[in-house]
Symmetry: C2
Subunit: 195 residues, 2 copies
Protein backbone atom coordinates (compact mmCIF):
# COMPACT_ATOMS: atom_id res chain seq x y z
CA UNK A 1 0.00 0.00 0.00
CA UNK A 2 1.70 3.09 -1.31
CA UNK A 3 0.31 5.74 1.05
CA UNK A 4 0.97 3.58 4.13
CA UNK A 5 4.53 2.77 3.04
CA UNK A 6 5.16 6.44 2.36
CA UNK A 7 3.91 7.38 5.82
CA UNK A 8 6.11 4.70 7.40
CA UNK A 9 9.19 5.93 5.52
CA UNK A 10 8.49 9.56 6.48
CA UNK A 11 8.06 8.63 10.15
CA UNK A 12 11.18 6.47 9.97
CA UNK A 13 13.24 9.57 9.06
CA UNK A 14 12.48 11.20 12.42
CA UNK A 15 15.17 10.84 15.11
CA UNK A 16 14.70 7.87 17.43
CA UNK A 17 11.93 6.36 15.27
CA UNK A 18 13.18 3.02 13.94
CA UNK A 19 11.33 1.03 11.30
CA UNK A 20 9.33 -0.95 13.89
CA UNK A 21 8.21 2.22 15.71
CA UNK A 22 7.38 3.86 12.38
CA UNK A 23 5.16 0.91 11.45
CA UNK A 24 3.44 0.88 14.85
CA UNK A 25 2.84 4.63 14.63
CA UNK A 26 1.54 4.41 11.05
CA UNK A 27 -0.92 1.64 11.96
CA UNK A 28 -2.07 3.67 14.92
CA UNK A 29 -2.48 6.78 12.77
CA UNK A 30 -4.69 5.10 10.18
CA UNK A 31 -6.89 3.80 13.01
CA UNK A 32 -7.21 7.28 14.59
CA UNK A 33 -10.32 9.42 14.01
CA UNK A 34 -9.81 11.52 10.88
CA UNK A 35 -10.15 14.78 12.86
CA UNK A 36 -7.23 13.79 15.10
CA UNK A 37 -5.02 12.98 12.10
CA UNK A 38 -5.87 16.34 10.54
CA UNK A 39 -5.13 18.09 13.83
CA UNK A 40 -1.73 16.37 14.06
CA UNK A 41 -0.89 17.27 10.46
CA UNK A 42 -1.90 20.88 11.08
CA UNK A 43 0.08 21.05 14.31
CA UNK A 44 3.15 19.97 12.32
CA UNK A 45 2.89 22.58 9.56
CA UNK A 46 1.69 25.26 11.96
CA UNK A 47 4.63 24.88 14.35
CA UNK A 48 7.06 24.84 11.44
CA UNK A 49 5.56 28.00 9.94
CA UNK A 50 5.17 30.02 13.15
CA UNK A 51 8.22 29.17 15.22
CA UNK A 52 11.41 31.07 14.33
CA UNK A 53 14.54 32.31 16.09
CA UNK A 54 14.55 35.44 18.29
CA UNK A 55 16.70 38.05 16.49
CA UNK A 56 18.28 39.13 19.80
CA UNK A 57 19.21 35.87 21.55
CA UNK A 58 18.51 33.05 19.07
CA UNK A 59 15.85 31.39 21.26
CA UNK A 60 12.69 29.96 19.67
CA UNK A 61 9.76 32.35 19.42
CA UNK A 62 6.40 32.83 17.71
CA UNK A 63 6.48 36.61 18.21
CA UNK A 64 9.01 39.24 17.23
CA UNK A 65 11.09 38.72 20.38
CA UNK A 66 11.27 35.55 22.47
CA UNK A 67 9.42 35.45 25.83
CA UNK A 68 12.69 35.97 27.75
CA UNK A 69 13.93 38.96 25.72
CA UNK A 70 10.42 40.49 25.79
CA UNK A 71 10.17 40.19 29.60
CA UNK A 72 11.24 43.49 31.25
CA UNK A 73 11.65 41.70 34.60
CA UNK A 74 14.58 39.61 33.31
CA UNK A 75 17.92 41.26 34.17
CA UNK A 76 20.41 42.10 31.41
CA UNK A 77 23.25 41.81 33.90
CA UNK A 78 23.32 38.01 33.70
CA UNK A 79 23.75 36.35 30.32
CA UNK A 80 23.60 32.58 29.98
CA UNK A 81 25.30 31.18 26.86
CA UNK A 82 23.86 27.90 25.55
CA UNK A 83 24.47 25.77 22.46
CA UNK A 84 20.94 25.56 21.10
CA UNK A 85 17.47 27.01 21.45
CA UNK A 86 16.38 23.69 22.98
CA UNK A 87 18.79 24.29 25.86
CA UNK A 88 16.94 27.52 26.71
CA UNK A 89 13.78 25.49 27.27
CA UNK A 90 15.65 23.07 29.55
CA UNK A 91 17.16 25.96 31.55
CA UNK A 92 13.82 27.77 31.81
CA UNK A 93 12.20 24.64 33.23
CA UNK A 94 14.29 25.12 36.39
CA UNK A 95 12.62 28.51 37.09
CA UNK A 96 15.87 29.60 38.78
CA UNK A 97 17.65 31.79 36.30
CA UNK A 98 16.47 35.40 36.09
CA UNK A 99 18.89 36.67 33.46
CA UNK A 100 18.81 36.46 29.67
CA UNK A 101 20.18 33.99 27.14
CA UNK A 102 22.46 33.85 24.16
CA UNK A 103 22.17 30.90 21.80
CA UNK A 104 25.42 30.02 20.00
CA UNK A 105 23.79 27.85 17.35
CA UNK A 106 26.27 25.02 17.90
CA UNK A 107 29.75 24.38 19.28
CA UNK A 108 33.24 24.79 17.88
CA UNK A 109 34.08 21.66 15.93
CA UNK A 110 36.97 22.05 13.43
CA UNK A 111 36.37 18.50 12.15
CA UNK A 112 32.86 19.54 11.00
CA UNK A 113 34.06 22.89 9.71
CA UNK A 114 32.47 24.84 12.57
CA UNK A 115 34.70 27.74 13.58
CA UNK A 116 33.92 30.87 15.64
CA UNK A 117 32.42 32.57 12.55
CA UNK A 118 29.79 29.84 12.20
CA UNK A 119 28.55 30.52 15.75
CA UNK A 120 26.98 33.73 17.06
CA UNK A 121 30.13 34.65 19.03
CA UNK A 122 30.57 38.10 17.43
CA UNK A 123 26.95 38.90 18.37
CA UNK A 124 27.66 37.70 21.93
CA UNK A 125 30.64 40.08 22.22
CA UNK A 126 28.50 42.89 20.83
CA UNK A 127 25.74 42.16 23.38
CA UNK A 128 28.23 42.09 26.27
CA UNK A 129 29.47 45.52 25.12
CA UNK A 130 26.07 47.17 24.67
CA UNK A 131 23.74 45.49 27.19
CA UNK A 132 25.66 46.22 30.42
CA UNK A 133 26.22 42.52 31.09
CA UNK A 134 28.03 41.90 34.40
CA UNK A 135 28.34 38.12 34.30
CA UNK A 136 28.34 35.58 31.47
CA UNK A 137 27.49 32.00 32.49
CA UNK A 138 28.80 29.47 29.98
CA UNK A 139 26.31 26.59 29.86
CA UNK A 140 27.58 24.61 26.87
CA UNK A 141 27.45 20.83 27.38
CA UNK A 142 30.26 19.18 29.37
CA UNK A 143 31.69 17.30 26.37
CA UNK A 144 34.92 17.95 24.43
CA UNK A 145 33.40 20.47 21.99
CA UNK A 146 31.32 22.18 24.68
CA UNK A 147 34.37 22.62 26.95
CA UNK A 148 36.53 23.90 24.08
CA UNK A 149 33.80 26.36 23.07
CA UNK A 150 33.44 27.58 26.67
CA UNK A 151 37.22 28.06 26.95
CA UNK A 152 37.36 29.94 23.66
CA UNK A 153 34.51 32.28 24.63
CA UNK A 154 35.97 32.85 28.12
CA UNK A 155 39.26 33.93 26.51
CA UNK A 156 37.41 36.41 24.26
CA UNK A 157 35.29 37.88 27.07
CA UNK A 158 37.81 38.15 29.92
CA UNK A 159 39.65 41.22 28.47
CA UNK A 160 36.28 43.01 28.36
CA UNK A 161 36.16 43.13 32.15
CA UNK A 162 33.03 40.95 32.39
CA UNK A 163 32.84 38.12 34.94
CA UNK A 164 32.77 34.72 33.20
CA UNK A 165 31.60 31.52 34.90
CA UNK A 166 30.97 27.89 33.92
CA UNK A 167 28.06 25.75 35.15
CA UNK A 168 29.12 23.14 37.72
CA UNK A 169 29.81 19.54 36.73
CA UNK A 170 29.70 16.65 39.19
CA UNK A 171 27.59 13.80 40.43
CA UNK A 172 23.90 14.32 39.67
CA UNK A 173 21.60 14.72 42.67
CA UNK A 174 20.19 11.30 43.55
CA UNK A 175 23.11 9.73 41.69
CA UNK A 176 25.29 6.97 43.08
CA UNK A 177 29.12 6.85 43.15
CA UNK A 178 28.93 3.30 41.80
CA UNK A 179 27.24 4.34 38.56
CA UNK A 180 29.05 7.61 37.89
CA UNK A 181 31.75 7.50 35.20
CA UNK A 182 35.37 8.16 36.19
CA UNK A 183 35.61 11.53 34.43
CA UNK A 184 32.57 12.90 36.26
CA UNK A 185 33.83 11.49 39.55
CA UNK A 186 37.28 13.04 39.08
CA UNK A 187 35.59 16.37 38.19
CA UNK A 188 33.46 16.15 41.32
CA UNK A 189 36.58 15.67 43.45
CA UNK A 190 38.49 18.45 41.65
CA UNK A 191 35.58 20.87 42.14
CA UNK A 192 34.87 19.89 45.76
CA UNK A 193 33.37 22.55 48.06
CA UNK A 194 34.31 23.23 51.71
CA UNK A 195 31.55 22.32 54.13
Amino acid sequence: MESLDLLISRLNRLPGIGIKSAQRLAFHIISMPEADVTALAEALTNAKQKVHYCPVCGNYTENELCPVCADPKRTSELLCVVESARDVIFMERVHEFRGRYHVLGGVLSPMDGVGPDQLSIAQLIERVKTEQVKEVILATNPDVEGEATASYIAKQLKPMGVSVSRIAHGIPIGGNLEYVDEVTLSKSIENRRKM
Copy 2:
Protein backbone atom coordinates in the same frame (compact mmCIF):
# COMPACT_ATOMS: atom_id res chain seq x y z
CA MET B 1 5.05 29.02 22.46
CA GLU B 2 1.55 27.91 21.64
CA SER B 3 2.12 26.14 18.30
CA LEU B 4 5.15 24.25 19.62
CA ASP B 5 3.31 23.16 22.79
CA LEU B 6 0.36 22.04 20.70
CA LEU B 7 2.63 19.98 18.45
CA ILE B 8 4.30 18.41 21.50
CA SER B 9 0.94 17.49 23.04
CA ARG B 10 -0.31 16.01 19.74
CA LEU B 11 2.86 13.91 19.34
CA ASN B 12 2.63 12.89 23.00
CA ARG B 13 -0.77 11.26 22.30
CA LEU B 14 0.79 8.74 19.93
CA PRO B 15 1.57 5.29 21.38
CA GLY B 16 5.10 4.90 22.73
CA ILE B 17 5.85 8.63 22.44
CA GLY B 18 6.43 9.98 25.95
CA ILE B 19 6.72 13.67 26.76
CA LYS B 20 10.53 13.68 26.31
CA SER B 21 10.31 11.98 22.91
CA ALA B 22 7.50 14.32 21.88
CA GLN B 23 9.68 17.34 22.76
CA ARG B 24 12.69 15.94 20.92
CA LEU B 25 10.56 15.18 17.86
CA ALA B 26 8.93 18.62 17.92
CA PHE B 27 12.30 20.39 18.11
CA HIS B 28 13.55 18.25 15.26
CA ILE B 29 10.44 18.99 13.19
CA ILE B 30 10.76 22.77 13.50
CA SER B 31 14.40 22.50 12.41
CA MET B 32 13.49 20.38 9.34
CA PRO B 33 13.20 21.94 5.86
CA GLU B 34 9.65 23.19 5.36
CA ALA B 35 9.14 20.88 2.35
CA ASP B 36 9.89 17.82 4.52
CA VAL B 37 7.42 18.94 7.19
CA THR B 38 4.74 19.46 4.54
CA ALA B 39 5.51 16.03 3.05
CA LEU B 40 5.17 14.40 6.48
CA ALA B 41 1.87 16.20 7.16
CA GLU B 42 0.55 15.16 3.76
CA ALA B 43 1.67 11.55 4.25
CA LEU B 44 -0.37 11.51 7.47
CA THR B 45 -3.63 12.78 6.00
CA ASN B 46 -3.13 10.86 2.77
CA ALA B 47 -2.65 7.49 4.46
CA LYS B 48 -5.65 8.15 6.71
CA GLN B 49 -7.86 9.07 3.76
CA LYS B 50 -6.78 6.32 1.35
CA VAL B 51 -6.29 3.27 3.55
CA HIS B 52 -9.46 1.34 4.46
CA TYR B 53 -10.45 -2.23 5.23
CA CYS B 54 -10.89 -4.88 2.51
CA PRO B 55 -14.64 -5.78 2.40
CA VAL B 56 -13.81 -9.48 1.97
CA CYS B 57 -11.13 -10.20 4.56
CA GLY B 58 -10.74 -7.04 6.66
CA ASN B 59 -7.09 -6.46 5.67
CA TYR B 60 -5.85 -2.90 4.97
CA THR B 61 -6.12 -1.75 1.37
CA GLU B 62 -6.04 1.34 -0.82
CA ASN B 63 -8.00 -0.32 -3.61
CA GLU B 64 -11.38 -2.04 -3.65
CA LEU B 65 -9.93 -5.40 -2.59
CA CYS B 66 -6.73 -5.94 -0.60
CA PRO B 67 -3.62 -7.21 -2.48
CA VAL B 68 -4.16 -10.76 -1.12
CA CYS B 69 -7.85 -11.03 -2.05
CA ALA B 70 -7.12 -9.47 -5.46
CA ASP B 71 -4.33 -11.97 -6.22
CA PRO B 72 -5.70 -14.91 -8.29
CA LYS B 73 -2.60 -16.97 -7.42
CA ARG B 74 -3.52 -17.12 -3.72
CA THR B 75 -5.44 -20.30 -2.92
CA SER B 76 -8.89 -20.14 -1.30
CA GLU B 77 -8.34 -23.57 0.23
CA LEU B 78 -6.22 -22.19 3.08
CA LEU B 79 -7.65 -19.44 5.28
CA CYS B 80 -5.53 -17.83 8.00
CA VAL B 81 -7.52 -16.16 10.80
CA VAL B 82 -5.77 -13.22 12.51
CA GLU B 83 -6.80 -10.66 15.12
CA SER B 84 -5.99 -7.46 13.25
CA ALA B 85 -5.06 -6.08 9.85
CA ARG B 86 -1.56 -5.42 11.22
CA ASP B 87 -1.11 -9.16 11.73
CA VAL B 88 -1.66 -9.74 8.00
CA ILE B 89 1.34 -7.52 7.29
CA PHE B 90 3.47 -9.48 9.79
CA MET B 91 2.38 -12.80 8.24
CA GLU B 92 2.96 -11.57 4.69
CA ARG B 93 6.50 -10.58 5.60
CA VAL B 94 7.36 -14.28 5.93
CA HIS B 95 6.53 -14.91 2.23
CA GLU B 96 5.53 -18.48 3.20
CA PHE B 97 1.77 -18.48 3.33
CA ARG B 98 0.01 -18.85 -0.03
CA GLY B 99 -3.60 -18.85 1.21
CA ARG B 100 -5.93 -16.00 2.11
CA TYR B 101 -6.72 -14.18 5.34
CA HIS B 102 -9.64 -13.39 7.57
CA VAL B 103 -9.29 -10.51 10.04
CA LEU B 104 -11.41 -10.89 13.17
CA GLY B 105 -11.13 -7.28 14.26
CA GLY B 106 -10.17 -8.22 17.82
CA VAL B 107 -10.43 -11.13 20.26
CA LEU B 108 -13.17 -12.38 22.55
CA SER B 109 -12.98 -10.42 25.79
CA PRO B 110 -16.15 -10.52 27.92
CA MET B 111 -14.58 -8.02 30.37
CA ASP B 112 -14.41 -5.42 27.58
CA GLY B 113 -17.82 -6.38 26.21
CA VAL B 114 -16.37 -8.09 23.13
CA GLY B 115 -18.45 -11.17 22.28
CA PRO B 116 -18.63 -13.24 19.05
CA ASP B 117 -21.01 -10.67 17.51
CA GLN B 118 -18.42 -7.91 17.83
CA LEU B 119 -15.93 -9.94 15.78
CA SER B 120 -16.30 -11.00 12.14
CA ILE B 121 -16.96 -14.65 13.10
CA ALA B 122 -20.29 -14.93 11.22
CA GLN B 123 -18.52 -13.66 8.08
CA LEU B 124 -15.76 -16.25 8.66
CA ILE B 125 -18.32 -19.07 8.83
CA GLU B 126 -19.97 -17.71 5.68
CA ARG B 127 -16.63 -17.62 3.85
CA VAL B 128 -15.80 -21.20 4.92
CA LYS B 129 -19.16 -22.27 3.49
CA THR B 130 -18.93 -20.44 0.17
CA GLU B 131 -15.22 -20.27 -0.68
CA GLN B 132 -14.39 -24.02 -0.65
CA VAL B 133 -11.97 -23.59 2.25
CA LYS B 134 -10.22 -26.85 3.19
CA GLU B 135 -8.15 -25.69 6.17
CA VAL B 136 -8.49 -22.80 8.60
CA ILE B 137 -5.27 -21.81 10.43
CA LEU B 138 -6.01 -19.95 13.66
CA ALA B 139 -3.23 -17.38 14.15
CA THR B 140 -4.58 -15.34 17.05
CA ASN B 141 -1.92 -14.34 19.58
CA PRO B 142 -0.88 -16.91 22.22
CA ASP B 143 -2.37 -15.01 25.16
CA VAL B 144 -5.50 -15.80 27.20
CA GLU B 145 -7.94 -13.98 24.90
CA GLY B 146 -6.25 -15.22 21.73
CA GLU B 147 -6.39 -18.85 22.93
CA ALA B 148 -10.03 -18.53 24.02
CA THR B 149 -10.95 -16.97 20.67
CA ALA B 150 -9.14 -19.76 18.79
CA SER B 151 -10.96 -22.43 20.84
CA TYR B 152 -14.33 -20.77 20.27
CA ILE B 153 -13.81 -20.53 16.50
CA ALA B 154 -12.49 -24.11 16.30
CA LYS B 155 -15.68 -25.32 18.00
CA GLN B 156 -17.82 -23.42 15.48
CA LEU B 157 -15.90 -24.65 12.44
CA LYS B 158 -15.31 -28.34 13.27
CA PRO B 159 -18.94 -29.44 12.55
CA MET B 160 -18.59 -27.89 9.10
CA GLY B 161 -16.08 -30.58 8.13
CA VAL B 162 -13.21 -28.13 7.60
CA SER B 163 -9.74 -28.88 8.97
CA VAL B 164 -8.82 -26.45 11.77
CA SER B 165 -5.23 -25.87 12.96
CA ARG B 166 -3.42 -23.58 15.37
CA ILE B 167 -0.01 -21.95 14.74
CA ALA B 168 2.78 -23.57 16.78
CA HIS B 169 4.00 -22.04 20.03
CA GLY B 170 7.42 -22.75 21.49
CA ILE B 171 10.91 -21.38 21.91
CA PRO B 172 11.72 -18.77 19.25
CA ILE B 173 14.50 -19.68 16.81
CA GLY B 174 17.76 -18.26 18.14
CA GLY B 175 16.18 -18.14 21.60
CA ASN B 176 17.79 -19.48 24.72
CA LEU B 177 16.21 -21.79 27.31
CA GLU B 178 17.53 -19.49 30.02
CA TYR B 179 15.49 -16.52 28.84
CA VAL B 180 12.27 -18.28 27.83
CA ASP B 181 9.37 -17.95 30.28
CA GLU B 182 8.04 -21.10 31.99
CA VAL B 183 4.73 -21.17 30.10
CA THR B 184 6.47 -21.09 26.71
CA LEU B 185 8.94 -23.73 27.87
CA SER B 186 6.17 -26.04 29.11
CA LYS B 187 4.32 -25.52 25.78
CA SER B 188 7.48 -26.40 23.88
CA ILE B 189 7.81 -29.67 25.84
CA GLU B 190 4.10 -30.47 25.46
CA ASN B 191 4.27 -29.89 21.70
CA ARG B 192 7.59 -31.74 21.17
CA ARG B 193 8.18 -33.40 17.78
CA LYS B 194 9.78 -36.81 17.12
CA MET B 195 13.19 -36.54 15.44
